[in-house]
Assembly symmetry: C2
C-alpha cells in the first residue's frame, strides 16, 4: 500500500467511525499519544484528548451522522505528516474539511479535523460519483 | 528561535500579508515548490499554485481584509510539518482557521489554509487580549 493509499484509508476509517456512530471506533482513529485538536462547524477550536473526545461523544450520540460520506478526498503528505481535504455530504448538509494525520508505525492516526459549511453544491457534485444519492 | 516560535512567526507573516493586501507578500508566505491547497469560507477546496493564488488576488483586491487579526493561535508540529489553529477576527466577522506549514531550510512556508465561520464569540473573546478593538 502506497503512502497515499494508506492516508486515504485512514481518512475512510474516520468516516466509517463517523457514520457508524461508535465512540470507540472514533477514538481508535485518533492519535492517543499527543495533543489532538478539532474544529467542528461553527464551534471554537477544541484541544486535548478529553475535549475532543467529549465533543465526538456528543456528536455521535445525536445519531444524525449515519449518512455522512466523504467526497473528492485528496491527500498531501510530507514525511510522517499528511492532510486530506475534501467534501463531507449528509442529507441537506454540505461541508468542506481538512483532516491532518501523523504516521505511527504503519498506521496513520488523525491529529486534527476541521469541517465547515460549503455553499458550492455544484463543485461537490462534480467530485461525486453518485450525487443522486444525496 | 524555537520551532514553535518560527511556526507562529510564519503564521503572523501570513496575517500581515492578509491585512497588507499585497499579493506579492501573500505569494511569499506560501510554498512555491509543491501543491498548495486552500478552503476559503463557504468555498470548495482549491488546489494548485494558480487556483490558490488567483483566489488570493481576488480576495485581497476587495480591500476588505485590512483589519484581519489572528487570535489564540496554537502551533502543533511533527518533523518538518506543522499546523496552527486559531480564530480570525475582522469587524463583524469571526472565523476559525487551520493553517498548515512545511519547513524549507529555516523558514516555514504555508501549504494549506482553511477558514470558516465561528458562532462562539465568547470563546474568541476569552483568547483575545483586547476584544474591545473589535
Amino acid at each position: 500500500m502506497s503512502d497515499r493509499e494508506a492516508i486515504l484509508f485512514a481518512n475512510d476509517t474516520f468516516y466509517a467511525a463517523f457514520a457508524g456512530g461508535s465512540i470507540e471506533q472514533m477514538r481508535a482513529v485518533w492519535a492517543d499519544d499527543r495533543d489532538i485538536t478539532c474544529i467542528h462547524p461553527g464551534w471554537p477550536p477544541l484541544a486535548g484528548q478529553q475535549e475532543v473526545m467529549d465533543s465526538w461523544t456528543s456528536i455521535l450520540s445525536s445519531g444524525e451522522t449515519a449518512e455522512i460520506r466523504c467526497v473528492g478526498a485528496r491527500a498531501y503528505s510530507q514525511g510522517d505528516t499528511a492532510y486530506v481535504i475534501g467534501f463531507e455530504r449528509m442529507p441537506g448538509t454540505l461541508l468542506t474539511t481538512t483532516n491532518v494525520f501523523v504516521r505511527k508505525g504503519a498506521v496513520w492516526r488523525m491529529v486534527h479535523h476541521q469541517a465547515a459549511p460549503c455553499q458550492d453544491q455544484a463543485a461537490a457534485d462534480q467530485e461525486d460519483t453518485d450525487p443522486t444519492l444525496q
